[in-house]
């Protein structure tokens, strides 16, 4: 009898143990399922927004189908712009930082590519130019210069140039869609909608292109999308952020417009110019504009020593250059800016319009820029705006800077 009872007890205990183990395994699955759902949603968001498309592949797709490339995860302009350049082999190459991006294709009669964003330090220019020339020799290089490259004591912000072309999602990437939602960079509903139904028409490559209409067009110009249409909050209203950065600028920071001039950077610039000249490529250096209140604050603050010295050096060097630092000097105004350090398309049309007669006077550069009359027409139709009235990718521009601009 005792044996039977013991056996029954053991059986009960075994059943209980099996049930408990089953409960354990089911409970173990709960976080696994939750984790899988969260990760699955992220993956769906990233792939439906074409974030898996790497920079080189994006350039190839744009070359064939047009479209907009604005990756939220893989901002790698160096390989992307170089690939655009390789595919288009343009007559005009615009080189520089983000301040070279607003040279819109519409301003040129010949083929043009903006490599803006590929050169964020003069050293990157020294690397890019030989690579460009090895691929193809353009007729004209418009090279925009940032004054902070010539600050002797500045600590370079750019690390190693990101030349990677592959994309593979990491933990940080999987978290990103949730951060976009929290920070208001993308709406949850819009992300779900993109998963369910991908946008039609020209390809939108990357989350910023899909969600905000911002990114590079097929010729490398940057479109700012939703911050210009008021859908997303503008980060530099009334140039407040730029002015604050300027006020807090230390001698070694990007915003310091005065200080010791870097002879090494200047030598690098001369070498770049010599390399281009040696290959028979005309180069025009451009000092891009800063918004009026920003320039005023620079002058009233520690001065614009770096800009002044750079101007003097360029003037004395015999190199072709244009100083567009001051907007009104070429007819632009603050309403044509995107933020404190970046002019919009219309401001850059004005710059091109200023450069046009000089470029037309050089036989090898004739016909590269659109005729002056057409440029004037474009400017007149869009005066006071950052982008064009009927430009692709941009909706209806609003007074996004809060300056009281009539748009």
């Amino acid at each position: 009898m005792d044996t039977i009872l013991t056996l029954l007890d053991e059986e009960k205990s075994a059943t209980r143990s099996a049930r408990s183990t089953r409960g354990f395994l089911l409970a173990f699955l709960v976080p696994c399922v939750v984790g899988a759902l969260l990760a699955g949603f992220s993956l769906a968001v990233l792939t439906s927004n074409n974030e898996q498309v790497g920079p080189v592949e994006a350039a190839r797709i744009q070359h064939e189908q047009g479209g907009l490339y604005g990756s939220a995860l893989y901002y790698r302009p160096y390989p992307y712009k170089l690939e655009l350049y390789r595919l288009n082999r343009p007559d005009v190459a615009v080189v520089g930082s983000s301040r070279a991006m607003p040279f819109l294709r519409d301003g040129f009669a010949a083929s043009e590519i903006s490599l803006g964003g590929a050169v964020n330090e003069i050293a990157e220019g020294e690397r890019l130019i030989p690579e460009m020339l090895a691929i193809h020799k353009p007729k004209l290089v418009i090279f925009t210069l940032d004054y902070w490259w010539f600050n002797e004591v500045r600590v370079a912000e750019a690390g190693e140039i990101s030349t990677g072309t592959e994309t593979s999602f990491t933990l940080k990437d999987l978290i990103a869609p949730y951060q976009w939602i929290i920070h208001g960079d993308a709406g949850f509903g819009a992300l779900v909608q993109t998963i369910l139904k991908r946008p039609e028409g020209e390809p939108r490559l990357g989350a910023w292109a899909t969600q905000n209409g911002s990114g590079f067009d097929a010729y490398g110009a940057e479109h700012y999308g939703a911050i210009l249409t008021g859908v997303r909050k503008h980060p530099d209203k009334v140039f407040k952020t730029t002015l604050k950065r300027l006020r807090n600028a230390k001698a070694d920071s990007k915003m310091a417009a005065s200080g010791a001039f870097s002879e090494a950077a200047w030598s690098s610039l001369l070498e770049i110019a010599a390399a281009l000249k040696g290959e028979g490529v005309e180069v025009r250096f451009v000092l891009p504009p800063v918004a009026g209140p920003v320039l005023k604050a620079m002058r009233e603050g520690k001065g614009t020593g770096l800009l002044d010295t750079l101007h003097e050096r360029l003037a004395g060097s015999g190199l072709g250059f244009y100083d567009f630092t001051d907007g009104p000097s070429f007819g632009s105004q603050d309403c044509e800016f995107v933020d404190g350090l970046h002019g919009g398309f219309v401001a850059y049309f004005r710059m091109l319009r200023t450069m046009a007669p000089d470029l037309e006077s050089v036989p090898s550069l004739r016909g590269l820029v659109r005729p002056v009359g057409e440029l004037d027409g474009l400017i007149a139709a869009n005066s006071g705006r950052a982008t064009l009235r009927d430009a692709a990718w941009s909706g209806s521009e609003v007074d996004f800077l809060g300056l009281g601009c009539q748009k």
């Binding site: 143990s17 089911l26 409970a27 699955l29 976080p31 984790g35 933990l171 940080k172 999987l174």
Partner: protein, 496 residues
Amino acid sequence: MLFNSFAFIFAFLPVVLIAFFLAGRFAGRTAAIGFLILASMFFYAWWNAIYLLLLICEVCINFGFGRAIIANRGAPAGRRIMIAGIVFNLLVLGFFKYALFFTGIVNDLAATHWTMIALVLPLGISFHTFQQIAYLIQVRDPKTPTYRFLDYVLFVTFFPQLIAGPIVHHNEVIPQLDKPDLTRWNTGNFALGLSIFSIGLFKKTVIADSLAQIATPAFTVVAGTQTLGAGDAWLGALAYSLQLYFDFSAYSDMAIGLAHMFNVTLPGNFDSPYKAVNIADFWRRWHMTLSRFLRDFLYFPLGGNHKGPSRAMINVMITMLLGGLWHGAGWTFIIWGGLHGLYICGHRLVRGSGLYEKLLPFAWPRRILAQAVTLFLVVIAWVFFRAADIHAAFRMLESMFGMGAGADVAFGISKPLVVVIATGAIALLAPNVIDLFARFQPVLAFDRPNARRMPPLLGRLKWRASPGWGLATGTVAVAGVIAILGWQSEFLYFQF
């Protein structure tokens, strides 16, 4: 293949588990074992298929040596065959691991210019070589049965322990392969194994790899010509000490967990080593299966402590220097081993002198002081273990003791400091896998002379197959898997 990879977790492991138990059920034990051997070889070949041939050759030759020893048990030939077998294993290990190092030494000493190509170190060679040497020594014992070929092959190649241990003995694993329920699915063992594996995965991908982000930059600075501020240097050294512990013990946990899923129990390899109260205690808790090997097959044969105190010290030094060399062909590893040898000798001199008791009459402060001193000495030695070369190690030590010219960057109330403190608290205070799973014998039994009972609150934290624990371990597993996406690195001990 890495345990902390998607390929392993979501493809290899489920497929092998299902196929193993199906094979056991429908085709019998031999087929299941044969399949597990093939799967283990695939696991090994994933890294470098060429070296699989080396592994197969070593296993077959050692099995042959074993059979020859059995055939000559009690005869002088048996001993000669054993020595030949050991020499063969050491030659293979020496060729791949030490040839370049010793060629350099010879060139330096004799001003010769011999060249030696740098060979890729076969993965896990130090581990399976020692495992097979132990077998050849033990097989002379008449009590050791004659094993089937497949059982022996699986004993060496069983994928959970193939690459970084634990260094198991034949009599610990092979008899388990004979159990009738080996190939029968056991949900309880699976749940236990899954939980231990999950904890190991978390320790590796969340904790150890986070610590690597702090330790690596610090040691990279001193690998150049620079020094660090004292705070940053200590932060780097402590981060590495913790990284190594969490990394290696994570691998052991994962190996133990995986083995449980296949109804096999492995020996423990870590027992909270940073809770050690003296250096001898540390070696009873750190890489326990290596310590056992060095003790049984090196220290004891040298005479152990049976030939007087002086000879015992010499034996300790030889054992620890060779133990250091086992970890890597470099002077830094030898110095690391030498330092530990000196520590153990020092401990033997102090032990019994009553020094601690005189300094601190109360037991618990004495224990804390002993633990702190032990930890301090261990961290100092790890500097040599991690540094790129001896100069870098000294630069790190200079920095740690305030003699460096560098300034602190990361020190202060910073994220790295918080990470080091939090993970340090886990290493020093939290129960380990052996404690947590004590009810279910997670590892083969071993002596724990300095183990303390868990405090009552932590004592309740004993794992059982309940829904609560399922939720907790499931969360830990998910965190571990997701963290793989953050950074996927090899286990540190793979390089040894």
